[in-house]
Amino acid sequence: MKLAHKDLLRLATVGSVDDGKSTLIGRLLVDTRQLFDDQLDAVVAASEKRGVGDLDLSFVTDGLRAEREQGITIDVAYRYASTPSRKFIIADCPGHVQYTRNMATGASTADLALVVLNVAHGLKEQSRRHLCIAALLGVRSIVVAVNKMDEVNWSESAYQGVVDELDTLANELGFESVISIPVSALLGDNVVDPSPNTPWFDGPTVLHALESSEAGSWSGAHGGARLPIQWVLRQPGGGRTYAGMLNGASLQVGDSVTLLPANIETTITAISSGSGARDVASTGLSIDVALDAETDAGRGDLIATAPLPKVTKEFAATICWFGEAPLRVGQRLRLKHTSKVTPVRVHALSGVVDIATLAIDANTMLQTNEIGLATLQSADALVLDDYRDNRVSGSFVLIDEVTNATVAAGMVGRAAFL
């Protein structure tokens, strides 16, 4: 049965600097008429002013002054689009290695990565890094635009060479769906309309691939319900309800649940959401629940159904490090996991991922933009799932205690390919 509303696909562009990510998004939006007249006029005017031709499509998303001056994306742009079959939230990410933290920001909420590769360059180290980060973050499907085909005279063998290299890496990284397409973002070939220049290619256009990709969020596919408590609401008459956003699995009035880390078994006696009382709540909803037991539950605690997460003060994790100074063993940081904030210390660093080979090199430091494996010890007990079982209760960020800057993305456990 078809549901009344259109489903939503969140996608992020990934790939190395200048390979054409912003141009491709600009092309997609212009050719599907998602831009308002005044927005298109503004892009035309800006292109003329900066002497970059009639229409620089990258200006559709590269909206900052510095980005337009330098012709480079600095931070993620979010665009909202909708076609007859789907709604899209598009995160156009920067390719430059210096802005890897911003790419991770854009990809952390994506269901699908739109990978853009320059056909003349193939997989550069930065393309490999982005693909690796996307895989770690849990992106399962990729659409690969092999771009700038106009510059290699639409050569099938040039295209095939890049696709072979890409397929090998995608296979290692464990992507479940990989669709490659030869395109020219600049001229529009195979983006929205099929190209007459690639008679040897019988696959979909980029738009068609995005519209038909099977790509719901995978969070919670293997686990129980998780409700991290954000806030306690006092009810008239003296009772309390516990508010948070539900994930992992749905929850019903009458369900047996466990309050963690206290490990108290109790029952859900009422659920309400923005639209009032309800019997069932599905994932993604902000709800508040009443519990059968009198507890002192509060912010940072978690309500769960089986299989339960583990409660621990020491755990292994995969870290993407964005700090300017290297991360070292013994370093103290603040960790935020769901609604819980606690001091942590780096107990051990067991290795750094070699982006070229995906091998783990022994090392005791993590440099900026490196990915490594670490063991962390926390002051307070944490309630954790493996990231691959739950994207919410398996993820955390590390925060610099002095500047309050977010310096790392962390995922509990270790991906199969590492």
Binding site: L3, T61, G63, D75, T105, W231, G274, L285, R334
Partner: protein, 307 residues
């Protein structure tokens, strides 16, 4: 699929998810920050924001005050609505006046017809400092402008209130972290992922009250710089400009002298939704003189600390 799961899927449509995400952000910021405030202009986005805030903390009262930066160049219908809407939530209303900044000599009076739009930034930042606010909720959406499209949901402001688009904090998953040092503050945008159409559909679904100027009505207007301005105390006809009485409505609400009306017959929410679905000019492009100033008008104002 059982009927029950089908029912649950049906019940969670995209408006439910947007609502849930916004409520999540509201609760998270209130939990992490000491003294939040909600910026309320009386426009449709801040109306939705206030509505969501009331839901996020029901049955309790809002755990923060509501602040209006009053340029003194408002539409009277919007001030009426402001008082009505804030009173309905029982929240405390703080009004910070641009006129006070002018009287204190902090900014220069642009004259009765001049725009006070840019001056608001000074009034806003002073009010944030004087009240010791460390987080300010705003109703900005990423689909409004290319600089807003780049901004984080929790956006850091330094001790001078400035936004530095090159140094935004990474914002991974939905782990919004709101720690700031004294003197710094955050702007939080729970409606970041909403589009103009989402806002209207939500207003219709929730049967929300709005300022009357959002609905088509007869009004004296004149055409200036390709924009229909409402004739009134802040806009008078210059030589060569013709005053006409037309059926108009407003797509955004800002100062009376820089917000344009659109020609429209849409008198109900569903008629507005029909119009918005087929619009070919953006909301700000159609109606805001303040954004037309230069290529990066919004970015420049945001850097200084604007909403």
């Amino acid at each position: 699929m059982t009927t029950e799961t089908l029912q649950t899927l049906h019940m969670t449509d995209h408006l439910d998810l947007l609502e849930s995400h916004a409520i999540f952000i509201l609760r998270e910021v209130v939990a992490e920050c000491e003294r939040p405030v909600l910026l309320f202009s009386g426009g449709k986005d801040s109306a939705v924001l206030l509505h969501l805030a009331a839901k996020a903390f029901a049955p309790q009262q809002l755990p923060f005050p509501v602040m209006h930066i009053d340029t003194g160049q408002n539409f009277p219908e919007v001030l009426d609505y402001r008082d009505r809407a804030v009173e309905a939530t029982g929240a405390r209303l703080v009004v910070a006046k641009v006129q006070d900044s002018i009287d204190q000599g902090k900014v220069i009076d642009p004259g009765p017809m001049g725009s006070r739009n840019r001056l608001q930034t000074v009034t806003l930042l002073d009010a944030i400092t004087e009240n010791g606010f460390d987080a300010a909720f705003g109703g900005a959406r990423r689909d409004e402008d290319k600089a807003r499209a780049k901004e984080r949901i929790l956006s850091f402001r330094d001790a001078f209130g400035q936004w530095d688009p090159r140094q935004q904090r990474p914002e991974l998953w939905q782990l919004y972290q709101g720690k700031v040092n004294p003197g710094e503050h955050l702007r939080a945008f729970p409606l970041s992922d909403w589009t103009e159409l989402d806002i209207w559909q939500y207003i219709e679904r929730e049967q929300m009250d709005l300022p009357t100027i959002y609905f088509a009505h007869e009004r004296d207007v004149l055409l200036r710089d390709n924009m229909w301005l409402a004739v009134g105390p802040f806009v008078e006809a210059r030589s060569g400009e013709k005053i006409e009485r037309l059926s108009v409505r407003f797509r955004t609400v800002g100062d009376a002298n820089c917000t344009g009306a659109v020609l429209s017959e849409a008198r109900t929410l569903s008629q507005i939704i029909d119009e918005v679905s087929v619009a070919n000019v953006s909301e700000r492009g159609a109606t805001r003189a303040d954004d037309r100033f230069s290529e990066t008008a919004m970015e420049d104002r945001k850097r200084e600390g604007y909403f």
